[in-house]
Symmetry: C2
Subunit: 307 residues, 2 copies
Amino acid sequence: MAHRCDVIGVGIASWDTIGIVSRAPLMGAKQPLAGWIEAGGGPVPTALVTLQRLGMRGGLVSAVGDDRYGQHILDDLRREGVEIESVQVRPGQSHVAFALVEPDTGRRTIWWHNDRAVLQHIALDRAYLTTARALLLDTHIPEVALRAAHWMREANRLVMIDAERTSDQATALLPFCDAIIVSERFGREATGAEEPQQAAQALYEHYHALVVVTAGEQGSWCASRAGAFHTPAVTTVQVVDTTGAGDVFHGAFLYGLLQAWPLRVVARFASATAALKCRTFGGRAGIPCLDEVEALVRTEAPTGGGE
Amino acid sequence: MAHRCDVIGVGIASWDTIGIVSRAPLMGAKQPLAGWIEAGGGPVPTALVTLQRLGMRGGLVSAVGDDRYGQHILDDLRREGVEIESVQVRPGQSHVAFALVEPDTGRRTIWWHNDRAVLQHIALDRAYLTTARALLLDTHIPEVALRAAHWMREANRLVMIDAERTSDQATALLPFCDAIIVSERFGREATGAEEPQQAAQALYEHYHALVVVTAGEQGSWCASRAGAFHTPAVTTVQVVDTTGAGDVFHGAFLYGLLQAWPLRVVARFASATAALKCRTFGGRAGIPCLDEVEALVRTEAPTGGGE
């Protein structure tokens, strides 16, 4: 069977303006920035760009406004090779964000804005969707995500979710997912477990899916029917900006799952891909190609934490 | 003598993104915004737009980068009727700013960025400059400002400066100015006087120019050889956003000076024009036309503070 895309993603697409601060930012003042960058963003689109750089083909189901930001978002995805025929252009404002990046501390502050009407009633074509081998979801366009997850489950495709915050939308989607990747915060809020390791285990026992809890520089914790393990973050790459690092991790993790690699290999590969992204400012500029990730994985010792 | 422009301005031109917050902003978090606006900005360009709306003709001497922001800045000024033949387009980044506006408190937080190389060695044509009746300066392009001030002084034209912060550049420019409009902070820092009234008087005695110290909603203090007086801010207009209010005040003040109105009338007119700007988000959208200002001035009692 010919697949038009390896992965179809359903989620918000953003246009990000990134200000790089030269000293600790404060409220109520007028302050110079050391740098100013614009780039496409959004968890699912950035994961799809990661898949493209690694050599797979991604398609996006989303909506943007009929403003210049929407045009930038589409131009950028087109340049990366992501299929955008299912991204609808609607009257209204696109999702935009301004992020302050503090290189010294790694702290990020983000203000975002979108037009809810733009994201309503996004069309979804079942035939198109099920040509893909996997579905990647965020929790920001829940009605479309739910329909897509349902259809892809029925078609026996891999469904993966990136859940950042607990919400009714996220809770409704999780039972349809084969792979659940959540933030440390989500893990804590959803399970009450203080430690990512316990949160991963509790989520696995509840959903019987592969669960990954990511915790930035502390690495990630996987729990699945094959057992549980910790993967340390790759720390041999100089970190300049962590914007989008989680999204890149998700894209690379999905790449590894579709290669049917052992889970520990998948997790190390995702960790290395995310680390390489952090070399450069912006959510996508530093996303590596396959050769770069493989070279880094070879130099890193295959370490694994407690089972 | 035919004047191509009534006023030529020398100063930075900015492209501003304005985020309107829906709750108190904080660092290190991801926060939604109630609104997102883009608009042309910069003290001198906004004053020139004010002069255009009031019916005079302004021209700008400045430089922008060869990026899309520079294009937006030029398109916007062209639409307002400001002459932009002397705005140079240089390789590099334009001056950009992100402003967080808190409607509940009126507090504003601004991050800005520019490329110093873009603002270097801006050409200035003496013949063009001296066709104007007045020169308006900021302190951000000091070498060009100094040359322009010198030539306009020699040609017996009115030179007005908008000085926000004390600096060597500002200090070098002040002796060339007939009208010095400074912030409360500048007044305090330059003279050591805690009260705007004393700061205005001290600056007048030092420079023998017309001095205005502006203090937002507390109004403004003028000191000149004709005496000193306070002008209250106009408070009958609902304030939504004060971005650019000072710049609009400067433009309207210069308008009044060029009409040779009595100083108290000029100050009330500038105060009313600035107040009307604050009706609307953004630095320029709310700038009124002459009829609107005159209608507001008529309804306000002609109050004056202590001499």
